[in-house]
């Protein structure tokens, strides 16, 4: 039971971080379907840092990994920003390209590193067992992960920034009615860039949290298994509001955690459901939830539409 709570909180942390990233980007008016790719890049940066810093003090590992993951994510979303804000490209297409590109880049980079170390090692796996301990404090059976706190701070900060600051309100104006925002002297391009880069920051951190949850090595060939998209589902279910996103993330995190720990529950094992079903459940639930919540969705009105100063 403790294990279930632990994993629920951990996956909820991932989902809420990444969903908040999507939330900032969409409030500014840019759909970031590339969050999956952003997560992969954050995970790549973080995992490699952990690999090379295995012997450093725990505090240093934690902050450097966090920083590198965030920077990788930000750097990667620059590609989205350039294409969709400055060149007015189709945001769905660019997001998809970023997802495919990230997995390819990560696989190539990791394989190249592995092969340079040992020509016979052609796997795309990075190991970080030792460095992972930096993130965890044990309370009896419960393993507290610092990233749970990071996610909580992110949720509170996001709520404050979006609703209580000038920056947040202006950002949301750009996603609702960019022409009106422009007419009162707000630079729509700058704020959209801010939204996109914040999504890279949060998505990158989400990526490293995801791959360190539960396992101590990661095979980059498989990307992050649709988690970026699950986060988008969480964002929609949370109606683009940080508070609701936090609750939605807990719900989805619970179902995702179930697939990790169901074998620890006597009555679930007794039901004799194949493990594959548990793997399927998070996706199935999100599909059903989306079907019921998308109808009255409160999506930012101007999201997905490139802003053109000339059009009124």
């Amino acid at each position: 039971m403790i294990l279930l709570i632990q994993y629920t909180l951990l996956f909820a942390a991932v989902l809420s971080l990444v969903a908040l990233g999507g939330c900032f980007s969409e409030h500014s008016g840019v759909i970031n379907l590339g969050l999956e790719g952003v997560m992969v890049m954050g995970a790549l940066g973080g995992a490699l840092t952990m690999k090379y810093m295995a012997n450093a003090p725990y505090i240093a590992i934690f902050f450097v990994v966090l920083l590198v993951a965030a920077i990788s994510g930000i750097a990667y979303t620059v590609l989205l920003g350039v294409a969709s804000i400055n060149f007015k490209a189709d945001q769905t297409l660019i997001g998809t390209a970023l997802n495919i590109l990230a997995t390819a880049v990560a696989t190539v980079v990791v394989k190249a590193i592995n092969m340079a170390e040992n020509p016979d090692n052609v796997s795309s796996t990075v190991e970080y067992l030792a460095a992972k301990k930096a993130f965890i404090i044990r309370f009896g059976k419960f393993e507290f992960n610092w990233f749970m706190l990071v996610a909580l701070i992110a949720l509170i900060t996001a709520h404050t920034v979006l609703y209580k600051t000038k920056f947040g309100l202006r950002l949301m104006a750009c996603g609702e009615n960019p022409q009106a925002a422009d007419s009162v002297g707000i630079n729509v391009y700058h704020l959209r860039w801010a939204g996109v880069l914040i999504s890279g920051f949060l998505g990158g951190i989400g990526g490293i949290v995801y791959i360190t949850a539960g396992v101590s090595e990661w095979k980059f060939e498989s990307g992050v298994a649709g988690f970026g998209f699950l986060s988008l589902a969480v964002m929609i279910f949370g109606q683009w509001k940080p508070k609701n996103i936090g609750l939605a993330a807990l719900l989805f995190g619970f179902f995702r955690a179930l697939s990790n720990v169901y074998s620890g529950f006597g009555f679930l094992v007794a039901l004799n459901i194949p493990g594959t079903i548990y793997n399927m459940i998070p996706y199935l639930i999100s599909l059903i939830v989306l079907a019921f919540t998308s109808k009255n969705s409160r999506a930012p009105k101007a999201e997905g539409i490139p802003y053109d100063k000339g059009s009124r």
Binding site: S222, T276, S294
Partner: protein, 381 residues
Amino acid sequence: MNNNKKSILKNSGFQSILASLLCILFGLVIGYIVLLFIQPKGANEAILTIIKNFLNYSSPSKMVKYLGNTLIKTAPLLMCALSVQFCYKVGLFNIGAAGQYVIGAGASLYCALALHLPWFVCIIAAAVCGAAYGALVGILKAYNNVNEVISGIMLNWISLYGVNMLLSTVKESSTPYTYALKSENPSALLPSFGLSDMFAKNKYVTIAIPLAIIFAIVIYIIQNKTVFGYELIATGYNKDAAKYAGMKEKKNIIITLAIGGALAAIGASFFFLTGYEQWSCTQSAVPSMGFNGIAATFLGGLNPLGTIFASYFIQHITSGGSYLDKNVYPSQISDLISAIIIYMCGFVLFFKLFLNSRVDNKKDTNANAVDTKSNEGGEKK
């Protein structure tokens, strides 16, 4: 996208080809730079290996045989690309093609191995299941306003786990692979009608290849010459205007995605019913065929006929990647190149606007020049 296609038809076609060639060039250059970073010594050779693909063999018969292998994988890729193209014209981004491909593989292999049905029944079964799966995305989009990209991705994973479970019932006991079609049910193998002899007795070369090309031509005709296709594309331009003009926009969305689903699923049956590869019931990632289809669609300038060449090109470099020296360069370089190509395709619209503004400036000289250039561009491919 091609609003004013009629008035500057040649110009627009030429622009698409030029844009696609630039995307390819850009992708290859980035790929080359990455190769240089990994190991500068063999990078020249490596990029040539990718570009040459089957030409790496010295004997002509081997070349032809391995050209056949590339074509075998081009057929399903083309079908996936057509699926994406058909939906994109209606304003729908069918990223679910990957999952529909998985469903097609599951349906056709289950019919072949468990029910022992002949090949054409297997293809039809795949088409029906794929269509149902696509229609599900369409219904969610039309009636529940669910973004088709997100529902598509969710269904991709659901289909992968589902098909893995389904096909576990017909898998070999010692390996994760499904039974070989050849020994279990030869009647489900696609017929070759002499095609394999043309490719140095490559027995996996079947009618799937010409059939896929026929599908591309049929789609081209539907989109450009029929009322049905016109209505679908009109829905894509402006849903509300289409509704106002008396078209059933919800029905159109569902039909489009159903057809898209059927195309991708047929693509899977075109691949797995050749017996070239068996389904691995333990695979943990959605096959990349559907995603590569997105690359081929956009590289083909969103034209079904252009897609034929683009699919071949994407498969050509993907197969070429497998000839790299595995202890120096990862074969995923090819995936990286295709991904860069998709990314660059995002800039095509901007590029065309830029060209048009240039053309407008010196209008009188363009007519002749563009005409000859477009012919050259066509030959290059």
